[in-house]
């Protein structure tokens, strides 16, 4: 079990200074995610440009994995169309649960989340922001939960 695999420099950096932290006002869509196990919450606000995410911000409290995952996600999804974001989430989910290898070519900086697969208790931390973004894109107003 190698902690450095989990807490890679990219993760520590995005935890220390999260990108796109805050709230878009006005926003086209918003959702709240909760991880009842830890009591963490995450708010995602989104602006669309047609089918694409034009802008996204997130705010909340969480561990280094959930903060860094949200920060990396916010960078990765901007400018992308919905269908591509859904596919990206599929890929990320495969990587953090260890079903698929982290392909740095396809995932870019998101590949840094690959270390999570060694720590099953932390998968929910890494996926909370993605579930919350999905809810925002579906314009669901009830908070999503990782339970």
């Amino acid at each position: 079990m190698d902690l450095k695999e989990l807490y890679r420099d990219v993760i520590l950096d995005h935890n220390r200074s999260p990108r796109n932290f805050g709230r878009l006002e006005p926003a086209d869509a918003a959702a709240t995610g909760r991880n009842p196990l830890c009591g963490d919450t995450l708010d995602v606000t989104v602006r669309f440009d047609g089918d694409r995410i034009a802008d996204l911000k997130f705010e909340g409290q969480g561990c280094a994995i959930s903060m860094a995952s949200a920060s990396l996600m916010s960078e990765a999804v901007k400018g992308r169309p919905r269908a591509e974001i859904e596919r990206l989430f599929e890929q990320i989910h495969g990587v953090i649960t260890g079903r698929e290898p982290a392909d740095a070519q396809a995932l870019g900086k998101l590949a840094a989340l690959g270390g999570v697969s060694e720590f099953p208790a932390r998968v929910k931390c890494a996926s909370l922001c993605w579930h919350t973004l999905q809810a925002a894109m579906a314009d669901r107003h009830t908070p999503v939960s990782t339970e």
């Binding site: 902690l3 807490y7 520590l12 830890c38 009591g39 963490d40 969480g62 561990c63 280094a64 932390r122």
Partner: protein, 415 residues
């Protein structure tokens, strides 16, 4: 391996205690296990494991039912454990000892059986801000069903509850005071005896959630004079799925059954039933017999070590851990009320408790992180979560050293 003589005291030989807990002798991620999560669930000594095995391999049958020999043995073993529980908490009679699944079920039993019969719209239940969810949610549910209101006494800055702040909220309409004996999140010990005296002076009965107190202190329900006392087997070195509701006999007699079924009846026709005597009235269905046997063995194990001796030992570790952790840069202890039980809750600047928990686990150190099922406590301190190390009879000074060293590593990784 030679034990460090400095760690031995004439009263308490922790290495001999540790030898009774086989689970502690393994390694986790290549490091010897340091188990500091006893407040969530304690480990079980050989005496408990063997008592359960002996019961299961030689005497299991259903209780209070058969004329055959095994049924009689099982009934005797089950009822012997009830007597052990009675003695352990100094209840007057075994009629006051109801076996349940755990503290949560005990409180739900009182909320449903006593609460639904006694609460009217406008009545109040009084709790505190440091309760475990098990002593909050059942009252919210019974309040929603009856129109009663739940009120909560505030905390002090160090995580205590002052008698006066409870007294200010005891009013004409207060029907029950329900309080923790020891806070699971912070280790604070409440002045239960004084609270009971004050509530009784106003004619208000008191329920005590003793889940965290029974492993750490001598509990005497007659000295406390409380009306209900709830605790779980698995926090006092017994099995999971077994716990106890102590209730003052006159109160239990007047309460209707909560669950219906076998065991709790004297006779049944399709039109109506006659309920059994105490405590069977509250024990519908086949109980957790081997769990009760294990709990009896656990309480005897604790009596053998001596409750005062365990408490003194844990207190020394608490002082060591508090001093060691407070000396780590950025660490803040949460809950520092005087005389608290062996629980240290803490945070570290810039590091979420879950990251602390993962890093400690990689060093073989098991602690709890999160809200500890006490979200109002976290809200009071404005924290999403804390890291919590909790000690048991088998914890030793080496555990504390490993804890502090691992927390220092967290600091380095997140520097």
């Amino acid at each position: 391996m030679n034990a460090n003589p400095a760690m031995l005291t004439p009263q308490y030989d922790v290495e001999r205690v540790r030898a009774q807990f086989p689970i502690l002798s393994q390694t986790i991620h290549g490091r010897p296990l340091v188990y500091l999560d006893s407040a969530a669930s304690s480990q079980r000594p050989l005496a408990v494991l063997r008592a359960v095995e002996h019961y299961e391999t030689t005497m299991h049958a259903n209780v209070h039912r058969g004329v055959h020999t095994l049924s009689q043995w099982a009934t005797d073993a089950f009822e012997r454990s009830r007597e052990t529980v009675r003695r352990f908490i100094n209840a007057r009679s075994t009629r006051e000892i109801v076996f349940v699944r755990g503290t949560t079920e005990a409180i739900n039993l009182v909320a449903n059986s006593w609460g639904r019969g006694h609460l009217r719209p406008g009545d109040e239940i009084l709790i505190t801000h440091l309760e475990h969810h098990a002593n909050i949610v059942p009252w919210q549910m019974v309040c929603a069903a009856t129109g009663a209101t739940l009120r909560a006494a505030p905390l002090t800055a160090d995580g205590g509850v002052e008698l006066e702040s409870l007294e200010r909220l005891m009013g004409e309409r207060t029907r029950l005071v329900a309080i923790a004996h020891v806070s699971n999140a912070l280790g604070t010990v409440l002045p239960v005896q004084a609270i009971v005296r004050s509530a009784h002076a106003r004619g208000i009965p008191v329920l005590v959630d003793g889940a965290q107190a029974v492993p750490h202190a001598t509990v005497d329900v007659r000295a406390l004079d409380c009306d209900f006392y709830a605790f779980s087997g698995h926090k006092v070195y017994g099995p999971t799925g077994i716990g106890v509701l102590y209730g003052r006999e006159s109160l239990l007699q007047a309460m209707p059954p909560w669950q219906g079924g076998g065991e709790m009846i004297l006779s049944v026709s399709i039109e109506s039933s006659t309920y059994n005597e105490l405590p069977a009235k509250f024990e519908a269905g086949t109980p957790n017999i081997s769990g009760a046997v294990g709990l009896g063995a656990a309480l005897e194990f604790v009596e053998g070590l001596g409750r005062e001796a365990i408490a003194a030992h844990e207190h020394r570790l608490l002082e060591l851990a508090s001093a060691g952790l407070a000396a780590v840069p950025g660490v803040r202890l949460v809950g520092t009320a005087p005389g608290k039980a062996a629980v240290v809750s803490f945070t570290m600047d810039g590091v979420h408790p879950h990251d602390i928990g993962t890093i400690l686990d990689s060093e073989g150190v098991a602690i709890r992180t999160g809200h500890h099922c006490a979200m109002p406590v976290m809200q009071y301190y404005g924290l999403p979560a804390t890291a919590r190390a909790s000690f048991g009879c088998y914890s030793n000074a080496a555990d504390v050293e490993r804890l502090v060293a691992a927390v220092r590593q967290v600091r380095e990784l997140f520097a």
